[in-house]
C-alpha cells in the first residue's frame, strides 16, 4: 500500500507500462499517446482511503516505534524487578543471619561477664572491687562570677601571633 501523505493526491500507476513504452523503438513512440496525458491524477476532493483509515495509519506511524520501544524495554524492566526482589531477599537473609549472630553473641557475652566476675572472686589479679574506699568525692568549685565579654582586639595583626606548633 502506498504511504499516505498529507495531500490526497496519490499517483496511480497508469494502465500502460512505462518501461514497455521505453523498450519500444523511438519511431513507434510517436504513435503512442503522450505519457503525461496517460498519468492519471486523482481529484483531491475524493480520497481513495477513508478518513479513519488515514488517522489510523498516522497513529500507526506514531505507535509502532513506541510499541517497539516498550516491548524492547519490558524485558530489562522485568529483569530489574526480579533482581531487586532477589537482592532484597539476599539482604533479608543476611539480616536474619546477623540477628542470629547477635543473639549468640549476646548470650556468650553475658556468660563471659559471669565467668570473669566469678574468676575475679578467687583470683583478683590486681582488680579491686568498687567500694567507698576506692571512690573519690569532691566538692564542685563555686560558680565563677560572669565576666563581661571583652571586645575583640582590633590591633592584633596576624604577624604578631607566632605559631606555636613550628
Amino acid at each position: 500500500m502506498a504511504v499516505a501523505s498529507r495531500s490526497k493526491v496519490i499517483p496511480v500507476l497508469p494502465k500502460t507500462t512505462a518501461p514497455s513504452a521505453r523498450s519500444q523503438s523511438k519511431r513507434t513512440r510517436k504513435h503512442l499517446p503522450h505519457p503525461e496525458k496517460q498519468l492519471g491524477q486523482l481529484d483531491p476532493r475524493s480520497p481513495q482511503f477513508p478518513n479513519w483509515l488515514i488517522v489510523l495509519m498516522a497513529f500507526r506511524k506514531l505507535s509502532t516505534p513506541v510499541v517497539l520501544f516498550l516491548v524492547m524495554g519490558v524485558l530489562p524492566l522485568y529483569a530489574w524487578r526480579v533482581s531487586t526482589q532477589k537482592s532484597w531477599g539476599n539482604q533479608f537473609t543476611a539480616l536474619e543471619q546477623l540477628q542470629r549472630d547477635e543473639r549468640t553473641w549476646l548470650t556468650r557475652m553475658e556468660e563471659r561477664k559471669y565467668e570473669i566476675s566469678e574468676n575475679l572472686e578467687s583470683n583478683p589479679a590486681g582488680f579491686v572491687p568498687k567500694s567507698s574506699k576506692t571512690t573519690i568525692f569532691f566538692q564542685p568549685a563555686p560558680a565563677r562570677p560572669a565576666k563581661p565579654a571583652s571586645p575583640p582586639q582590633a590591633d592584633v595583626t596576624p604577624t604578631d601571633i607566632a605559631p606555636i606548633g613550628y
Binding site: 526482589q85 531477599g89 549476646l106 548470650t107 561477664k113 566476675s117 572472686e121 567507698s132 571512690t135
Partner: protein, 599 residues
C-alpha cells in the same frame, strides 16, 4: 496489451506479471479459505477468552488458595519466652533455639549408608553408630539433641528425605547461681517452676502474632506482603529492679562471713525504701538453674521469702515506734534495767545477763536490753499493742511479687491479751515470726517516714522503644507510723551504730542507722543453742534511701552475734552501694588522711 500468451510464459515472467498486477493470482476457493482461516483464528481467540474467563472467575478462589499455600509462610518466631533483664540491661534469663533431629527410615530415598555418612560429619558421630540407630525402627528415631542453628542449617541443606528437624527453646541463665533465688528456673516444657519465672508466668509467656511473608521458589522472602511494622516490635523484655553488681557484692560478703562462722544459710536484702524495689536479694545456699535437676528441691524456694524466723532485737526499733506512736513513752523516758525480770512466772534476761541501770530509750537500744524493752512495752496495754502489731502486718504476707511467700506466725489475740508473757517476749522480738523480707519492709517504714511499701523485684514489661507496656498491680503503700515518730526512732538507731552494738557497721564519713539482732532459735517448743543473727541498717541516716538487712542462720562459735556476723556483711554491702550510687559522704572530715608522723 502486448503480453505473450499465458501458456508460453516463463515462470519468472509469470511472477513479474503478477507483481505488476497484470494477472492477479487466482486462488481457487479464495473466499472459502479466507473464511476457514478466519474461523480457526476466531475460534482460537474464543477458546482463549473462555479459558481466561474460567481461570479468572470460576477457578479463582481455588487458585488463590493454592498460590497462598505455596507462597505464604510465617517468619520464625524470635523467642518463646520473654527474656529477663536486670536494672542495667544485663540478661538474667534468655531463650536460645535448640534443634532435635529425628530420622524416619521408611521415608529414606537414598541408601542409609549415604545418609549416615552425610550426617556423621555434622553430628560428630560415627557412621556405624548412626546405621545402628537407623535399624532400630521405621520412624521417629531421635538422632541428635541440642543441635545448634548452624548444624541444623547444614542438615537442612542436605535436602534428604526422611530427616526431620524440630525446633525447641532452651532457657539460658547467664548469671547462674547469682540470681537463681530470684529468677528461678523453667522445666523442660518451658513452664516456670520457681522465682520470677513461676510467679510472672503470664507476663513472660510470649504470644507474638506470627508475621506473614511471601516466599519465592527457593524459599527466599519476597518484599511484597512484608509486614510494615518493625521486626522487633514484639520483643518485650521483663525488667527487674535488681542490680547485679550489688547482688554480686552482697553474695560475696555473705559467703565470706558464712564460711568464717560455718553458718547454715544466710540472706542479704537491699531495698529502696521509697517504692519497695529490691536492689539486691542474695540467699545462700543457691543453685544453678540450668542444672536444676541436680539441686535439692529445698533450694527452689527463696528462704528470705518463704521461711520464718523470730526477729529478735532487730524488732526493737519497731516496738519503740509503736510505743512512741501510741504516746506510751517519750524519747527521753528513762527505765531501769536490772538485768533480770520475771513476767507471769517466766524469767527474762538480757543477752549478756547484766543490768545497765537507768537507761533512756536510746540507751536501751544501744545496749539491746531485753529487760528495758519489756519495761517500755509494759507502758502500753496489751490489747492496743496486739492491734498495732496486726496493723503493721505481723502474721500477714507483704504482697511481694516473688512466689511462695509465707505469712508470719502470730499468737491469737486472746492468748496475747491474757498472758503477759506474750507481750513481754514480743517486746524483744521473740514469740512471733516473720520472713526476712517482712523485716526489711518494716524497717523501710521506719526509714521512709512511716509508709509500709510492698517489696518487689519486677519493674515491668518493656518494649524495644523503652516504654513500659505492662506493670505490676501491687498493694499500695499505706501509712503505719507518723513522720515525727520515725525521725525519733532513726536518731536512736543512728546512736546504736555510733555508740552501741552496731559499731562494727560504722563507715567513715557516713552516718547510718542500724540495729543488731541475735535470736535463739526455737526447736520443737524449746529454745535451743542455735542462733539466728541479723543486722538491719538504713542508709544514709540524714535522708535515707536504702535499707539493708543481713540474716545469718546458725553461725557457730562463741563469738557469733549479730554485731560480729551480720553487721560486717551490711557494712560491706553499703560500701559497694556508696560507690555504685555515688552517695557523697556526709562527714567528709572523717575521710581526711591523717598527717604523716615522721619518726
Amino acid at each position: 496489451m502486448s503480453s505473450p500468451s499465458p501458456p508460453l510464459q516463463t515462470r519468472r515472467a509469470a511472477i513479474k506479471a503478477r507483481i505488476q498486477t497484470k494477472h492477479p493470482h487466482q486462488i481457487p476457493n479464495q473466499r472459502l479459505r479466507l473464511l476457514l482461516v478466519g474461523l480457526v483464528l476466531g475460534g482460537g481467540l474464543l477458546g482463549l477468552l473462555t479459558r481466561l474467563v474460567y481461570l479468572q472467575v470460576s477457578a479463582a478462589p481455588f487458585l488463590r488458595t493454592k498460590a497462598q499455600q505455596q507462597q505464604l509462610g510465617t517468619l520464625p518466631e524470635r523467642t518463646f519466652r520473654y527474656p529477663i533483664l536486670d536494672r542495667r540491661g544485663n540478661f538474667l534469663a534468655k531463650d536460645e533455639p535448640v534443634f532435635r533431629l529425628f530420622a524416619h527410615p521408611f521415608l529414606f530415598q537414598k541408601q542409609p549408608e549415604e545418609i549416615a555418612q552425610a550426617l556423621a560429619s555434622i553430628l560428630n558421630r560415627s557412621q556405624d553408630s548412626l546405621m545402628e540407630r537407623f535399624k532400630t525402627g521405621k520412624s521417629g528415631i531421635p538422632i541428635g539433641y541440642r543441635l545448634s542453628e548452624a548444624e541444623a542449617d547444614k542438615i537442612n541443606a542436605l535436602y534428604l528425605d526422611g530427616l526431620e528437624i524440630t525446633k525447641e527453646w532452651q532457657r539460658v541463665y547467664p548469671q547462674s547461681e547469682l540470681t537463681a533465688g530470684l529468677v528461678g528456673y523453667v522445666n523442660t516444657e518451658n513452664q516456670g517452676q520457681s522465682g520470677i519465672e513461676y510467679s510472672q508466668q503470664s507476663l513472660l509467656k510470649g504470644a507474638p502474632i506470627p508475621l506473614l511473608v511471601a516466599r519465592d521458589g527457593q524459599g527466599q522472602v519476597l518484599p511484597d506482603r512484608f509486614p510494615l511494622e518493625p521486626l522487633n516490635a514484639n520483643d518485650l523484655t521483663l525488667k527487674l529492679t535488681l542490680d547485679t553488681r550489688l547482688q554480686r557484692s552482697a553474695r560475696q560478703a555473705l559467703h565470706q562471713q558464712m564460711s568464717k562462722f560455718k553458718a547454715k544459710r544466710g540472706t542479704v536484702i537491699v531495698m529502696d525504701i521509697h517504692d519497695g524495689s529490691l536492689v539486691a536479694l542474695a540467699s545462700e545456699p543457691s543453685f544453678n538453674p540450668q542444672k536444676y535437676f541436680e539441686a535439692s528441691p529445698a533450694l527452689f524456694k527463696n528462704w528470705a521469702i518463704s521461711d520464718l524466723y523470730e526477729p529478735g532485737s532487730t524488732f526493737k526499733p519497731i516496738n519503740i515506734a509503736i510505743a512512741l506512736e501510741a504516746g506510751a513513752i517519750q524519747p527521753d523516758s528513762v527505765f531501769h534495767d536490772s538485768g533480770q525480770l520475771s513476767v507471769g512466772g517466766w524469767p527474762i534476761n538480757n543477752a549478756d545477763n547484766s543490768g545497765h541501770g537507768n537507761l533512756t530509750v536510746t540507751g536501751i537500744l544501744e545496749y539491746s536490753s531485753n529487760v528495758g524493752m519489756v519495761h517500755v512495752m509494759q507502758q502500753m496495754q496489751r490489747e492496743p499493742y496486739y492491734d498495732y502489731l496486726k496493723k503493721i502486718g505481723i502474721g500477714q504476707i507483704t504482697g511481694t511479687d516473688l512466689p511462695f511467700e509465707t505469712p508470719g506466725q502470730f499468737k491469737e489475740k486472746q492468748q496475747f491479751v491474757d498472758y503477759p508473757i506474750e507481750a513481754a517476749t514480743a517486746a524483744f522480738g521473740q514469740g512471733f515470726s516473720v520472713t526476712p523480707l517482712q523485716m526489711a519492709q518494716l524497717h523501710a517504714a521506719i526509714a521512709n517516714g512511716g509508709k509500709l511499701v510492698t517489696p518487689h523485684v519486677v519493674n515491668g514489661l518493656y518494649n524495644p522503644a523503652g516504654k513500659k507496656t505492662k506493670g505490676l498491680n501491687l498493694i499500695q503503700p499505706r501509712r503505719i507510723f507518723s513522720d515525727h515518730t520515725t525521725t525519733q526512732v532513726r536518731t536512736m538507731m543512728g546512736s546504736v551504730v555510733q555508740n552501741g552494738t552496731g559499731k562494727p557497721a560504722k563507715i567513715p564519713g557516713y552516718r547510718l542507722g542500724g540495729k543488731t539482732g541475735t535470736a535463739q532459735k526455737a526447736d520443737s517448743g524449746a529454745y535451743s543453742n542455735a542462733r539466728i543473727t541479723s543486722f538491719v541498717a538504713s542508709f544514709p541516716l540524714e535522708s535515707p534511701k536504702y535499707v539493708a538487712l543481713a540474716v545469718v542462720d546458725e553461725p557457730q562459735g562463741d563469738n557469733a552475734y549479730g554485731s560480729t556476723v551480720a553487721a560486717p556483711v551490711v557494712k560491706s554491702v553499703l560500701e559497694t552501694l556508696i560507690s555504685l550510687e555515688g552517695i557523697p559522704p556526709s562527714h567528709p572530715e572523717e575521710l581526711k588522711a591523717k598527717p604523716k608522723v615522721s619518726p
